[in-house]
């Protein structure tokens, strides 16, 4: 008599499929870095607001929006650190976690609107997959993805009727990150036909946070589409 291989195999396959269906889908991880903190106050903004406090407040708003949209979040700080928190340490946290996108949050009183900044490093195609990547130019391997992410955020901000400038600069920890990364700098709104809106305005921050969340949701679906093609 033959052992019943076929029914056992079918049972195992059914059990495996059911187990896979019960596993939660891994959530897209977003890295947030509210810039400055501790002894480093950042820019001195109008009304005695410090950049380190504003970036933290904005990160809190953005985190709430992103959590509601189903993202997993990793933040460098959720309070003002008592000890110095160098940019290298922030980059190490991000590089260990391999997030889908890294956002460095800044604020300024110069210029107008939202500045979405990508690293000014030249793209490195990394022909040799075992090549060593120098720490100071780690971002060079992710420049095309970072530019695409900046474009995605820029489009979402434009759809939210916010003025946006896409530019490039050499800043830390942006140059040390290995994930698709942008720095988002919030500047006052200075429309010619009405009063200026300061960066500390909560409605302004909320609109920016919503637009960034929409951009990251779109970014997540692009990543899923690319993953499905592979």
């Amino acid at each position: 008599m033959k052992p019943p291989f076929k029914p056992i195999a079918a049972l195992l396959l059914t059990l495996l499929t059911a187990a896979q269906a019960q596993q939660p889908t891994p959530r897209t991880l977003i890295f947030l870095d509210p810039a400055h903190g501790g002894l480093d106050p950042g820019a001195h903004l109008p009304n005695n607001v410090l950049e380190k406090d504003l970036t933290l407040a904005f990160a809190t708003r953005l985190r709430a929006q992103l959590s509601a949209a189903g993202f997993a979040l990793l933040s460098t700080r959720d309070a003002d650190p008592a000890v110095p928190f160098p940019t290298d340490q922030r980059a190490e946290i991000a590089n260990h976690a391999h997030p889908a996108a890294c956002l460095i949050l800044h604020a300024t009183s110069s210029g107008s609107g939202i500045h979405v900044i990508t690293s000014s490093l030249s793209p490195n195609t990394l022909d040799d997959p075992h090549a060593t990547i120098p720490w100071n130019t780690a971002q060079s391997a992710s420049i095309p993805q970072s530019l695409a992410l900046a474009n995605e955020i820029g489009l979402a901000l434009e759809h939210a009727k916010l003025p946006v400038i896409l530019s490039r600069a050499a800043i830390r920890p942006l140059d040390n990150l290995i994930c698709p990364a942008v720095a988002i700098e919030i500047a006052p709104l200075t429309p010619s036909d009405s009063d200026a809106t300061p960066v500390s305005d909560t409605n302004y921050q909320q609109t920016v946070a919503k637009a960034i969340t929409a951009a990251l949701a779109s970014w997540r679906s692009h990543l899923a589409a690319v993953g499905a093609q592979r």
Binding site: S110, G111, N151, G154, L155, V164, R168, A170, A187
Partner: protein, 210 residues
């Protein structure tokens, strides 16, 4: 009865007082005459004529984050290092003018510029020069803080220097003679910047990017 010696002393002191009053009045008159005289405009030394030349300043604009080349006539020294310093001082002084599109505080900005052989030339290219720009501490302390505003200052300096001294291939920054991590909290000053044409106008986001 006043003794005779006291009378002599009194009249001697009175005479000395009168002499001093007369001396002071004369000194006052001379000083007044000298200060009131019109300035002497007569030419003493022959004027030196420095020939001007067309230079290109790469001017930053905070409103649209652009760097635009603009040509000006300026007389510059021939020594390349002093030439570079004079040029950068002129560039950064332009930002202190009223209605500047990239406002910076007036004052000395560049202490020195050193031109050295580039220790790390790009592979396959002629070895060029490394320009080390020593910014003044006051300029850095008063520079507005922000990623974009600081990056624009750096790009403006690089573009202007590249146009005037094409032999410069790499640019480094010092502040007060020492390496400094950032310009005003953001733009990386420990980075070696390639000397390139930095004229740029940011493009808006596009729908059809891959």
């Amino acid at each position: 009865m006043i003794p005779r010696y006291q009378r002599i002393l009194f009249w001697s002191l009175a005479a000395a007082c009168l002499l001093m009053v007369a001396f002071l009045l004369r000194g006052y008159g001379v000083a007044r005459k000298r200060l009131g005289a019109p300035a002497n405009d007569a030419p003493i030394a022959a004027p030196t004529t420095a020939s001007t030349e067309d230079i290109t300043l790469y001017l930053a604009n905070d409103a649209d984050a652009s760097i635009t080349p603009a040509t000006e006539s300026l007389s510059l020294p021939q020594d390349p290092a002093i030439r570079a310093r004079t040029l950068l001082d002129h560039l950064l002084a332009a930002y202190a003018r009223p209605n500047s599109a990239h406002p910076l505080q007036a004052g000395p900005a560049v202490d020195d510029v050193f031109l050295l052989p580039d220790p790390n030339p790009a592979p396959g290219e002629q070895p060029g020069q490394l320009a080390v720009i020593n910014l003044s501490g006051g300029f850095v302390n008063n520079h507005p803080s922000g990623v974009q505003v600081e990056a624009l200052t750096i790009q403006s300096i690089i573009g202007t220097l590249h146009a005037a001294l094409p032999q410069v291939t790499t640019i480094r920054f010092l502040v007060g003679g020492q390496p400094h991590d950032t310009l005003a909290g953001h733009a990386d000053l420990l980075h070696n910047y390639p000397a390139t044409d930095t004229a740029a106008k940011p493009t808006p986001p596009t729908e059809n990017q891959p």
